[in-house]
Amino acid sequence: MSDTHAESVAFVRETSLPPAAPPVAETGIVKWVRENLFATWANGLLTVASLYVIYLILRATMPWLFNGVWNASSLAECREILQGTTGGCFAVLTERWNQLLFGFTYPTELYWRPLVAFVLMFVALAPVLFFDLPRKLLIVTGLFPFIAYWLIWGGSIFVPVFVLVGFVVGYLVYVRFEKVSFAAGFFGGLAAAVVVWTVSGAITPSLENVLALEAVPSRDMGGYMLNMMLGVTCVSLSLPIGIALALGRQSSMPLIKWICVIFIEFVRGVPLITLLFVANVMLAYFFPPGSGVDLFLRVVIMITLFSSAYIAEVIRGGLAALPKGQYEAADSLGLDYPQAMRLIILPQALKISIPGIVNIAVGLFKDTTLVSVISMFDILGMIRGPILASTEWNGVYWELLGFACVVFFVVCYSISQYSQWLERRLATDHR
C-alpha cells in the first residue's frame, strides 16, 4: 500500500527514527536523586537535615580520627605532639593493645598460645558454619575444645587427652548399645566415660610434667580474649542443654515438663547480672567444701544456664512450628522417641531455629561485658580499671571505648550477616 502514499504525499519515511535519549530528568542519577532524595518538599527537607547531621558527625570525628597520634607513651606526650589541634590519642592502643586483648597478667611470651587457639577456632567453626566444606574438617571441630584448653591454660597435655579419651570411650560404648535402646547406649556411654575420667584423674598428678606447657591460672586471663572465651564456651555448652530443656518442656511427662518450665521461666525472669552475683558470691557455697572452683568456671556455669534457657525457648518455637504430620509420620514408621527426635524432628526444628539461636549467641556475646561488674577484667573491665586508672592514660576515654565498640561491632555484625546468609541458603520453600 506504500505505493498509494508515494503518489499522494511528497515524502514517506521508510525507516524508523533512532530512539531519542530520554529527558535528562528521567534518567540516570538525576532521576534517582529526584525520586529518592527530593520526591516531595518534606522529603527534600529531610534529605537536607540528614546531610547536615552527617556533616556534623563527620566534622566532629574526622579530624580526631585522621589527625590521631599513634606513637607516644602518655596522654601528656600526646597533647604535646598535637599542640592544641584536634586529634585522637591512639597511642594508647599501640601501647596497651596487649592488655586490651589479653588482660594485664597473661604472660607476654605466651601470647602465641591464645592466638593459635583463636586461629584454630576459625578452622573448627568453618565446617559447622559452611556445609559445603569437606566433612572431615569436623574432626578438627571435635578436637578443638581440648587443644584450645591445653593452649590457653597450659599444664600437662594429659588432662585434655584423658578427657577426650573419656568422650571417645563413652561414644564407642554408646554406639555398641544404641542398637538395644537409646537409654542403654546413653547411660552406658556416660558410665564408661565417668569410669575413664575417675581412673585418669587418679593417674594425672604423676604425669604433671610430661609434655606440659607452662600453666596459666584463669584469673590471669582478661581483655577481649576473656569475652571470646566466655562467648564461645557458653554458647557451645548451652546448645545441648537448650535442646534437652526444649524437649523436656514439650514432654508428656508432667514432672519433667514442670521441672523444665520452672527452670526456663526462672532464668528468663532474672537479669544476667543477678546470676553473675550468684556466681560471684553465692555459688561457691554449693560446692563441696575445699573444692575451690575458680571464678571463671563459676561464671561459665551461670552464663551457660542463662543462655540455655533462652536457646530452649527458641528451639521450642522451632519444635512448635513443625507440622503435626511430621510427628505422626515418625510414629507411623515405628520409630521410638529418641529415633524420631534425632532423625525426623530435631533436624527440621533446629533448621527453623538457627536465626533465633544466632540472635541469642550475639546477645550473649555482648552480655559477656557484664562480667566487668563482678570485677573480672574483660575488655571493658580493662578499660575502666587498669588502663584509665593509670597515670599515663587517665582521660583517654574515646579512643579506648571506640576500640571496644569496633571489636564488638565487627564480630556481632558479621555473625548477624552470616545468619541472614544462612537463612537465604536454608530457605527450601518458595523457590
Binding site: 522529603n43 540528614s50 526462672f266 547480672i273 553465692m282 557455697y285 571493658l380 571505648l401
Partner: protein, 412 residues
C-alpha cells in the same frame, strides 16, 4: 479387633517398668524425681556445711538494721539511718523510675527510627539502618559507660557557669547541664494543700483530673461513633476533646498556683529545681537508644507485615488516608508489634540492673551492692534481688498474655 500391642491383663513383671508404654513414663518420672531430690539434697548439704564452716546462718534480720550509707537520688525520704529494707525500697522505686522513663523514650526513638527506615527517602532510610545496626551490635553496657563518660568528662562543672562572662550558659536560662547532673525547673504550688512545702495530694488531684478527662473524651468518641452509625455523618470531635483535656487542667493548675522554680547557681553548686543525676541520665539515655534500635526493627517488621492489599482495599472502600492508617493498617500492625514491644520493655527493666556499673542506686546497686557488701548476707540479698525481678517479669508476661488473648484474631 484390638489395635493395642500391650499385653492385656496378665501378670506384672519387673521388666514391664521399662518396656511397657503404660508404665515407662511413670518409671522415668520416678527416676527424674529421685535424681532431682538427690541433687538438691547434695547442694543443700554442701550449703549447710559451708555455712557452718564460715560461721554464717540464713537470716533476714539485717533488713531491719540501719543501712548506714547515703543514696544520692531518692524518690522517698531516706537517710543513712534508715533501714536496709527502706534502702531496698528506694532501689526498687529507682529501678521502676528508670525503667518507666526508658520505656517511654525507647518507644519514641524506636517508632521514629522504624517508620523513617521505611521512608522513600534513600538517605534517611540508610541513616536509620546505620543507627539500628550500630546500636544493636555494641553491648548496652558500653553505651551506658560512653554516655556516662560524656556526662562526667565532657559537660562543664558548675564552676564554669559562674562570673559575668561564663564559659557555659544555661540552656534558655532554664536548664543547666553540668557534670554533676542536669538541673531542670521544678514545679511547685503556691496555693496548694500543704503550703509551700507541697503535698502529694496536689499531684493526686492533677492525676484525678487527667483521668476524668480521659473518660470524658472516651464518652465523646463513643457518642460520635453512635452518631456516625445512625446518620452516617461523623461529628468533628477534635475541638471538644482538646477542650476537655486542657480547660479543667489549666483551671486546676491556676487555682493551685503552679509556679516553676528555676535552678540557680548558689555557691559551688546549683540549687532549686529538680536535679537529675548523671548516672540516671546515662542509664536512661543509653537504655533508650539501645532498645530503641531493637524496637525500630519490631516496628518495621510490624508495618511490613500488613499486606499492601489491605491499604488498597481500604482505599477502594473510600476511606481517607488518615482513616486507612488508624482503622486498617495500625490495628493489624499493632497486633504484630506489641508482643515483641512488651518483651523489649521487659528487657529494659532487666537491663536497668546495669545501673550498678555507673553508680545509679537501683535495687541491684542498693540491695545487691552496698547492702550485700556491708552485711555480708550474700545469699539472702541475691535471693531477694532475684525474687523482685522475677515478680516484675511474671507481672509483665501475665499482662502480655491478657493482651494477646484480647487481641487474638477472633475466628468463627
Amino acid at each position: 479387633m484390638s489395635t493395642t500391642t500391650d499385653p492385656q491383663g496378665g501378670t506384672f513383671r519387673l521388666s514391664m517398668l521399662l518396656n511397657d508404654t503404660r508404665y515407662r513414663s511413670l518409671t522415668m518420672q520416678v527416676i527424674a524425681a529421685v535424681v532431682l531430690a538427690l541433687a538438691i539434697g547434695y547442694l543443700y548439704s554442701n550449703l549447710v556445711t559451708n555455712l557452718r564452716a564460715a560461721g554464717l546462718n540464713i537470716s533476714y534480720a539485717f533488713l531491719g538494721n540501719p543501712a548506714g550509707y547515703d543514696i544520692n537520688q531518692t524518690l522517698i525520704d531516706y537517710s543513712s539511718q534508715s533501714t536496709n529494707l527502706r534502702a531496698a525500697v528506694v532501689g526498687i522505686l529507682n529501678t521502676l523510675l528508670v525503667a518507666f522513663l526508658a520505656c517511654v523514650t525507647a518507644t519514641i526513638f524506636g517508632v521514629i527510627a522504624g517508620v523513617l527506615r521505611l521512608s522513600n527517602n534513600w538517605l534517611v532510610s540508610k541513616l536509620m539502618a546505620v543507627y539500628v545496626e550500630i546500636f544493636r551490635n555494641i553491648p548496652v553496657l558500653i553505651w551506658i559507660v560512653i554516655i556516662f563518660t560524656i556526662m562526667i568528662a565532657v559537660l562543664p562543672g558548675p564552676r564554669a557557669f559562674r562570673g559575668d562572662d561564663p564559659e557555659s550558659r544555661m540552656l534558655l536560662d532554664l536548664f543547666a547541664f553540668t557534670n554533676r547532673g542536669v538541673y531542670i525547673p521544678g514545679p511547685y504550688f503556691t496555693r496548694g494543700i500543704g503550703g509551700e512545702e507541697g503535698s502529694i495530694l496536689n499531684w493526686l488531684m492533677v492525676i484525678g483530673v487527667l483521668i476524668a478527662s480521659l473518660f470524658a473524651t472516651r464518652a465523646v468518641t463513643a457518642r460520635a461513633n453512635a452518631t456516625q452509625a445512625a446518620t452516617g455523618v461523623r461529628p468533628n470531635t477534635l475541638w471538644t476533646n482538646l477542650a476537655i483535656w486542657f480547660v479543667p487542667l489549666i483551671a486546676l493548675l491556676f487555682v493551685l498556683g503552679l509556679t516553676w522554680e528555676v535552678p540557680a547557681l548558689k555557691g559551688f553548686n546549683f540549687s532549686g529545681g529538680i536535679k537529675v543525676g548523671g548516672p540516671l541520665i546515662a542509664l536512661w539515655f543509653a537504655l533508650s537508644i539501645y532498645t530503641g534500635a531493637f524496637i525500630a526493627e519490631n516496628v518495621r517488621a510490624g508495618i511490613q507485615a500488613v499486606s499492601k492489599g489491605q491499604t488498597e482495599a481500604a482505599g477502594a472502600l473510600g476511606l481517607r488516608p488518615n482513616r486507612i492508617m488508624s482503622l486498617v493498617v495500625l490495628p493489624q500492625a499493632l497486633r504484630v508489634i506489641i508482643p515483641p514491644l512488651i518483651s523489649q520493655y521487659l528487657n529494659i527493666t532487666k537491663n536497668s540492673s546495669l545501673a550498678i556499673a555507673v553508680g545509679y542506686a537501683d535495687i541491684t546497686a542498693t540491695l545487691g551492692g552496698i547492702t550485700l557488701n556491708q552485711t555480708g548476707r550474700a545469699i539472702e540479698c541475691v535471693l531477694l534481688l532475684m525474687l523482685f525481678y522475677l515478680v516484675i517479669s511474671l507481672l509483665i508476661s501475665a499482662f502480655m498474655n491478657v493482651y494477646n488473648n484480647a487481641m487474638k484474631l477472633k475466628e468463627r
